[in-house]
Each structure stands twice: as structure tokens, then as C-alpha cells.
């Protein structure tokens, strides 16, 4: 069969064009293929089969919350009455949609302990950008214009500093203590009149709950700065702990993680932002406002203090509808179960791996929904790296955990099983990890040459960057 769709070079039936457009504005040729429908279907169906995915593989990718994406959510979100709505449809003709979004805003506010929610950010990073922009707007509205710096733990996700920079801030990174908690002395030292805020996630990216969070909040607020909460790890505490009650002022949620909307090979996501009341006026536009029977998008004029509009329309509606369906289906009991079983699965794996001899990063702590192991011992013993362990896992049909993140822990793997995996699936992972450990010590080449049984062998990423062949 054709290896690429560009090999399907039938002429097809050329089209007669009658255009009322001046010729000099037109193009001469369109160098695209003309495959038949079957060729397209076959090509992309076969490509799809080369992927790992939740639907086919255990996918314990730390920080990414690769849980089951309920298909009923897809079904209801793509009902023609929603999927064919033009974004400029007037509110009278979109009440069913607006009501659902209004409900979702309310539910997210309740879950986060925040005063108000805007659903518009397209992903976590855009939510972060919105949040730090709101912090900027807050200080500026108070005339406190010197606050140009954001504090961020070293272990934080890369989007945190990148978002802070996009909002025009300078970034200072903070260290963590050996027990995984934040170094409060370093925090105290860093706080000052030029600090606008701090971006944290809790549980942190180290897979542990920041126990001093109330102290941290007091310190930060005391210094006139605000707390941003990166909601990517919300699965760990869903329905149990509310960021608003921990002292955070503004946050985003990753609906495509915690609320089980699909990752789609890279996206789309939704990074809804939630804010305490003093930051609510700055939320990005538009939000849904109104009550039963007459919902509408609020106008720009109504929200003069808003940081504005982050994308052309109101956000990733299709993703929001899936998240809405998820909350409606699970209800408060079901949502609380999510964090319970996410924690159960993570702690079970952490204990299992420790028993096998793996080094757990914060072994004396509870795992949250994820935890870190380090294979530095294997690296010393036989030059096997975390990367090799990851690639070898693929041979067993298990997707690799996140590796080399957080960068603090050498040769680390960040493992997040999620609540939707069964005990049987976890037990198989433990078996496979035991075998990989044996192999690492006895036949390290097997790992270094892995994967062996995938559509391709190990991919040469260096050559890729050197050649840079990025289009046909």
C-alpha cells in the first residue's frame, strides 16, 4: 500500500471554475493529491493502528492523567444541535448549550471553592496565561505596578514559567526540600514588593501533597502577592480539597485531564479558569450569564476590567460539553471516588515497585495520584537510563511513564495510573517492571535496544533535528 497519502497521485476529475475573482489574485496550481475515499480510509485507519492509546494500552503517563474518556461524553457533545451551532448564533437560539455551560461554570466553582469561572481558555497553558494576566491586572488596578516577578518551584511544569513570561513577568525558581515540600526559607527570601505572585500546584509535580500550603498562602498574601494554582493535578484531590480553601486566588483546571475529555494525540484541551472574588472581575471574556430560560454570553462592555479575549470565540465548547457530561454522570459521589481510587492505584503501584527494589523518590510520603521512581541505581549498575526503561515498557504494550520530569530527580519516571485502571492491569505492570529490572541488571542491551516489537525500532531524534525534513 501507499506509504504516504501523497503517493495517491490520481488526476481525479478536474473542475471547471467560473470565478468572479480577478485572475491575479488566483493561484495556478494546487499541488495536493486526489486519493479515493477508500485510499484515505485505509491509509489513516492503518496509521491509527500504529498508535498506543488509552483505548488500547495502559498509559501511566505522569502529570497527564490518561484516564478513560467516556464515549457517552463524545456522543452528547457531538449531537447536531450542538455541533452545528455557529458561534454567532444569537443566545435565544442556543439556550440548551448556554444552560449546560452555565451549569458547568457553577459546578467548577463549587469544586474549586472559587467565586467565578471563565470557560474560555483552550488548554492549561492558556488558563495559566489568563491567571497570571489577571494577577497583573489586579496589581495594576491597585496602582501596584512594580510587581513584575512570579515565583515558581523548580519542579513546576514548563508551562508555568513560559506562561508567566508570556504575561510579561520575570520568573524566579524556588527549590524544594528533600521531603518534597517547598523550602519556606527560600520562599521567604524570595518574597518582596516586586513579587506579583507564586504559581503552585498541590499535589506538586513531585507527586506529594504540599502540607505547608496554609503557611505558604499566609506568607505570600502577607507580602502582597497572590497565589496561582495549576490545576493539572486536581485528579488527586477531586471533591476533597478545594484550591480556594487552600488559599489560592486564581487557578486553571485541565478539563482534558481531570474531567476525562480525550487528549486526541495532542489536544484539544480546556483550561477553564476559576478565581476568588477579588480576582473575578479580571476573568477572560466571555462567560455565560443569566438564569433558567435566558442565558447569554456577557458582552465586552459589561466586563471592562477583564483581561480580554484569548481566542476568537468562547473556548473549546465541544470539550466543555464533554466535561459537563462527565460531571453530570458521576455526580458528587462519583467525583469523590475519582480521587480515592486514583490515590489507591498510585499508592498500590508505589508500594509494589518499592518491594521490587525500585527507588521511590519520596518513599516516606503518601503517593497522591502519581509518584516518582528513580532508576539511578540501574544507571550506575549497568548504564541503563530511564529512557531505556521507558522504551522497554513499550514492548509489553504499556505506554512509558513521563521521564526526566520533574527535572529535580535524576533518571526519574513519573507514574500516574489513574483511577480507571483495574487491579489486574496494575499487577501486570508490576510484573513487567520486575522483569525489566531483572533485564536491566542481567541483559542491559535488551533495554538499550528497545523497543523491539513496535512498528519502528528506536527512532533517531538527533538525525531528525539535523535533517529537519518536516514536509513532503
Amino acid at each position: 500500500m501507499e506509504e504516504t497519502i501523497f503517493a495517491c497521485q490520481h488526476e481525479g476529475t478536474p473542475v471547471e471554475l467560473e470565478l468572479a475573482i480577478p485572475a491575479h489574485l488566483l493561484r495556478d496550481d494546487l499541488p495536493l493529491p486526489n486519493p479515493s475515499e477508500l485510499e484515505v480510509l485505509r491509509h489513516y485507519t492503518r496509521l491509527s493502528q500504529k498508535n498506543f492509546s488509552i483505548d488500547t494500552n495502559f498509559y501511566p503517563l505522569g502529570s497527564c492523567t490518561m484516564k478513560y474518556n467516556p464515549r457517552i461524553a463524545h456522543e452528547v457533545a457531538t449531537l447536531p444541535g450542538f455541533s452545528r451551532l455557529h458561534p454567532a448564533t444569537p443566545a435565544v437560539a442556543a439556550q440548551g448549550l448556554l444552560r449546560s455551560l452555565a451549569e458547568l461554570q457553577g459546578w467548577l466553582a463549587e469544586l474549586t471553592g472559587m467565586a467565578a469561572v471563565s470557560l474560555s481558555p483552550a488548554a492549561g497553558a492558556q488558563g495559566e496565561l489568563a491567571g497570571v494576566a489577571m494577577i497583573r491586572a489586579y496589581h495594576q488596578a491597585r496602582g501596584d505596578t512594580q510587581r513584575q516577578r512570579i515565583l515558581i518551584p523548580q519542579a513546576a511544569h514548563g508551562t508555568n514559567p513560559a506562561s508567566a513570561r508570556m504575561a510579561g513577568f520575570a520568573v524566579t525558581e524556588l527549590p524544594n526540600l528533600p521531603n518534597g515540600d517547598l523550602d519556606l526559607d527560600a520562599l521567604r527570601a524570595a518574597l518582596g514588593p516586586e513579587v506579583a505572585g507564586i504559581m503552585l500546584t498541590n499535589p506538586s509535580t513531585l507527586g506529594v501533597f504540599e502540607r505547608q500550603i496554609q503557611e505558604v498562602a499566609a506568607l505570600v498574601h502577607g507580602a502582597g502577592a497572590l497565589l496561582y494554582y495549576d490545576g493539572a493535578n486536581l485528579n488527586a484531590i477531586l471533591g476533597r480539597v478545594k484550591p480556594g480553601e487552600m488559599g489560592f486566588d486564581v487557578m486553571h483546571l485541565n478539563l482534558h485531564k481531570t474531567f476525562a475529555t480525550p487528549h486526541g494525540g495532542g489536544g484539544p484541551g480546556s483550561g477553564a479558569v476559576a478565581a476568588a472574588s477579588r480576582l473575578a472581575p479580571y476573568l477572560p471574556v466571555p462567560r455565560v450569564v443569566g438564569e433558567a430560560g435566558s442565558y447569554r454570553w456577557e458582552s465586552h462592555a459589561e466586563r471592562p476590567e477583564s483581561i480580554g479575549q484569548l481566542s476568537a470565540y468562547a473556548g473549546n465548547i465541544g470539550v466543555l460539553l464533554r466535561a459537563h457530561a462527565y460531571v453530570r454522570r458521576l455526580g458528587h459521589t462519583g467525583l469523590q471516588r475519582v480521587s480515592a481510587y486514583a490515590a489507591l492505584n498510585a499508592n498500590y503501584l508505589m508500594h509494589g515497585l518499592r518491594r521490587q527494589g525500585y527507588t521511590v523518590a519520596f518513599a516516606e510520603r503518601r503517593a497522591t495520584h502519581e509518584f516518582i521512581i528513580s532508576v539511578q541505581d540501574l544507571h550506575k549498575a549497568s548504564a541503563v537510563r530511564a529512557l531505556d526503561v521507558a522504551k522497554r515498557l513499550l514492548d509489553f504494550g504499556i505506554h512509558a511513564p513521563t521521564i526526566y520530569f520533574p527535572q529535580l530527580v535524576p533518571e526519574c519516571l513519573l507514574i500516574e495510573p489513574t483511577e480507571t485502571e483495574s487491579k489486574a492491569s496494575l499487577d501486570r505492570f508490576l510484573e513487567v517492571m520486575a522483569q525489566i529490572r531483572r533485564e536491566a541488571l542481567e541483559e542491559p542491551e535488551r533495554l538499550r535496544n528497545a523497543p523491539h516489537d513496535l512498528p519502528v525500532r528506536r527512532v533517531d531524534e538527533t538525525l531528525a533535528a539535523r535533517r529537519l525534513q518536516v514536509a513532503e
Binding site: S48, H86, A88, G267, A312, T420
Partner: protein
């Protein structure tokens, strides 16, 4: 328990292995004061109940024939597009960081990049940004990284107002100034500026502009070239099946091209998820925001694909990244790639030509109605402004009852616009009977007043 497989025996065995008595014990590191509950949320419901509720909501409004555009269009999406895109292996995969386990997504993205470079006439394409408007903001930031001394971006008033608002939100935070360039009210086209803009990095060139009018892109690009400005083209990807590729504009072609990908197989969905695309010259690749896939080989020398130049991205470069974007719009790109392949060159040209022809026809039909005018003389693709004898919002609302979404009142996009102006778009789905139906319904609504 929906979506959680554990039964009580399994739960018990796992708790025992961990060495705790109850599930709650797993949260014992969390200060008690912080533990709360969420019983204010509704109770859950079965899948059947959920389906029923949402079907009812989705059906509250009878379907409307869509003549609204302004950046999002009601195109035909062939049945196979989402039949494939929804397959679990695409739908439920993560970003293809592990190349060996993601060759499907990676090759597809590589093909997407190939489609977009060919369509836009550029050398490099990323693998998507959030939407067209935020992609334009990224393009501006990119231009300013390429011209570190500059502080300004030149923005024609012909840019869609909701896109402009996104620039207003995102760029000033980094100290960037936005300079507006006026349109000619008669032609609806951008006026060639007389002045110089020594602090400007780039000129944005929207082809088509927000009145649906086609700009003289060669002349404008020339002007920008001669003023040493980067050219950022903003295009409708379907229109590019017919229109000159930005890579061929002026002498040197555009530097960066962005656009909204929605017309390529993405459902309207009330505004999203869509995707933004961004293509550029090869020289600028290290300033590119977003993901990039390259073709390479595996350890056995076979063709393979992987993400590349990741050092531009936030997960490596952190605060120094070209953008903060991480999760992008992968699944929409999946659909768009399949859509492009399914239509092929001929299908894309046919769809674009048909959308154009139906817009021409509708424009002529509507312009015959008493009191209705066409304010702009310039050529159009599939969208045009209609000046109505009454305020456009109320006319639009009146047509809802006839089953038509008649267009987008300009005043709803930009409060400064003429309240009588309605932006009307056709696509290949606009059939003759719809045009006639629209014309007579409009005649009726206008007659009522």
C-alpha cells in the same frame, strides 16, 4: 461505580498491600481543615438519563440554515473524516512524545504539515495552535523575536474585530504596540499607507478581510517589503484552493502565514474546538511556536517520524520557550488532515468555487430587494456585507423563525460599525433553494416593518 473497575475485594486487597485500613487514610497527609466536600453538586445519573437530557437540550432549537461566517463556516464534512478521527487510537492518545508508540499520529501530523506548506506556499508548518486568532498573536510574537529592535505591529482595520481583540489581550502585556491601518470605505479594501513605521516589525495582511473583500495582496506585500516589514498573512485555508498562495505574494512572499483551520473538516460547535495553523519560511523555524514533526529513521534505518526541535518548547526551555503552548488541537488537525486528503485538490477547488459562486448568486439576489445595498465594490470570495434598511440584529432575529441564520451583524463584532450591515456567507452547502428561501424570507421580514 462508573468508570472505576475495582470491586470491594480488590479494593481491600490493595489497601492491605499498601498497609492502610481505609481509602480515606490515603489522604492523611492533608490537613484536616482543608478537607471538605462537594455535596452541593448534583448526584450522578446513568448514561441513558444523561443522553436523554442532552438530546433534549440539543433539540431545543430547530436547525437553522447557516449563512453566518466571520471566520467560521458551515462546510460539508465527509462522513469518513470523523469516522476515522474518532477512532480510539487517535482520540485517546496523548501528545506523541514516545515516538515509537505514536507513529500513527506522527505520520499524520507530518502529512498535515505537508498539506499546509503546500496550501500556503511556505516551507515550514507547525502542528497546530489553539485557534486562528491566537495563532496570529503567536505570529506577531514570532515577528518581534525576528526583529528584536521593533516594538510595533501594523494591523489593518480589515482584520476581524474578534481577532483584533485577542491581539489586544495578548500583545500589550509584552510591551508591544498595535498600530491600526484604515480601510477604504468604498472598496472595502486596505488603503496603502503613506507614512513610514520605523518601529514596526510586521504588517498583518488578511486575505480575505472582515468585509469579505479580497485585498490587493501583491501591492500590499510589495509595500511592506519596500518598508522592510515582515509580512504576516492571514488566510482562509479553503479559499487557498483558489487564491494565490501567500508564499507567492509580492516579490518575496509572506514570511509567516496563519489562519483558522475550522473550514477544514471541523464542526462549527459554537466556536470550538477549532485549530490555528502557522506556516513560515525555513529560516524562521527556530522561532516557531508549537510542535513540529520530522521524518527520520529508526535504529534499523527504516523511515520513522518524531517530534523535533523540542528545545523551542516550554517543557525543555521553560521561561525561554517560543510559546507557552503545550496541549494543542491535535484531534482537529487529525480531522483536517483526513478532510484535506478526502477532498483532494479537486474536491477543495470544487468546494471553494461553489461557495464563491453561491455567494455571488445570493449577493445578486439580495441586492435586488428594496432598500438593500452592497456597500463595498471590491471582489469577494464567499462572504459579503449587506447594508439593510433596518438594524441588522433585528433582521437577523426575524429570520430565525424562518429557519435561517442570516449572517453576522457587523455591529455585534465591532460596536463602531454600521448597525445596518450584515455579513453574509455562503458555502458549498448553500443550495439554490436555500438562496431563494433566504431572499424571500428577507423580503418578508423587511416588508413587515
Amino acid at each position: 461505580m462508573p468508570y472505576i473497575p475495582h470491586d470491594s475485594a480488590e479494593t481491600a486487597a490493595m489497601l492491605e498491600a499498601i498497609g492502610v485500613a481505609r481509602l480515606e487514610d490515603l489522604f492523611d497527609e492533608i490537613p484536616q481543615a482543608l478537607q471538605s466536600d462537594v455535596s452541593a453538586l448534583p448526584e450522578g445519573c446513568g448514561e441513558a438519563r444523561l443522553r436523554r437530557e442532552m438530546e433534549e437540550r440539543a433539540a431545543e432549537q430547530a436547525p437553522l440554515r447557516c449563512f453566518a461566517g466571520a471566520g467560521a463556516y458551515a462546510h460539508h464534512i465527509p462522513a469518513i473524516v470523523w469516522e476515522i478521527a474518532r477512532r480510539g487510537e487517535f482520540y485517546s492518545a496523548y501528545t506523541p512524545y514516545q515516538a515509537e508508540a505514536s507513529q500513527g499520529t506522527l505520520q499524520l501530523l507530518y502529512e498535515f504539515q505537508s498539506f499546509m506548506t503546500r496550501l500556503t506556499g511556505m516551507e515550514i508548518s507547525n502542528a497546530s495552535l489553539y485557534d486562528g486568532a491566537s495563532a496570529l498573536a503567536e505570529a506577531c510574537l514570532m515577528a518581534l523575536r525576528l526583529r528584536p529592535a521593533a516594538r510595533e505591529i501594523l494591523i489593518p482595520e480589515g482584520l476581524l474585530p474578534h481577532w483584533r481583540r485577542v491581539l489586544d489581550a495578548l500583545l500589550p502585556m509584552q510591551g508591544i504596540r498595535l498600530r491600526s491601518l484604515p480601510q477604504d470605505p468604498q472598496s472595502g479594501r486596505l488603503l496603502l499607507p503613506g507614512e513610514d513605521f520605523p518601529e514596526a516589525a510586521a504588517l498583518i495582511l488578511p486575505q480575505i478581510n472582515r468585509f469579505g473583500v479580497l485585498e490587493e495582496v501583491d501591492a500590499l506585500a510589495h509595500w511592506a517589503e519596500s518598508h522592510n516589514l515582515l509580512r504576516i498573512a492571514v488566510v482562509n485555508p479553503l479559499a487557498l484552493a483558489l487564491l494565490k498562495a501567500p508564499g507567492d505574494w509580492g516579490e518575496q512572499g509572506a514570511d509567516i502565514v496563519v489562519g483558522e483551520g475550522q473550514p477544514l473538516g471541523v464542526p462549527l460547535a459554537a466556536g470550538g474546538p477549532y485549530f490555528g495553523f502557522l506556516t513560515c519560511r525555513r529560516d524562521y523555524v527556530r522561532q516557531l511556536p508549537g510542535r513540529l514533526v520530522a521524518k527520520t529513521v529508526d535504529a534499523a534505518g527504516q523511515v520513522a517520524y518524531c517530534l523535533t526541535l523540542q528545545a523551542r518548547e516550554q517543557h525543555i526551555r521553560r521561561a525561554g520557550a517560543t510559546s507557552n503552548i503545550c496541549t494543542n488541537q491535535g484531534l482537529l488537525v487529525t480531522a483536517a488532515t483526513i478532510h484535506l486528503a478526502t477532498l483532494g485538490a479537486n474536491g477543495l477547488r470544487a468546494a471553494a468555487a461553489r461557495a464563491h459562486q453561491q455567494a455571488q448568486r445570493l449577493r445578486a439576489l439580495l441586492a435586488r430587494l428594496p432598500g438593500v445595498e452592497l456597500p463595498h465594490a471590491g471582489p469577494v470570495f464567499n462572504e459579503f456585507v449587506l447594508r439593510l434598511p433596518r438594524p441588522a440584529p433585528s433582521v437577523r432575529d426575524g429570520l430565525l423563525a424562518h429557519g435561517f441564520l442570516a449572517g453576522v451583524p457587523l455591529i455585534e463584532l465591532n460596536p463602531a460599525d454600521d448597525p445596518h450591515d450584515l455579513l453574509v456567507a455562503c458555502t458549498e452547502l448553500s443550495e439554490d433553494e436555500d438562496l431563494d428561501g433566504y431572499a424571500s424570507a428577507l423580503a418578508g421580514v423587511l416588508g413587515e416593518a
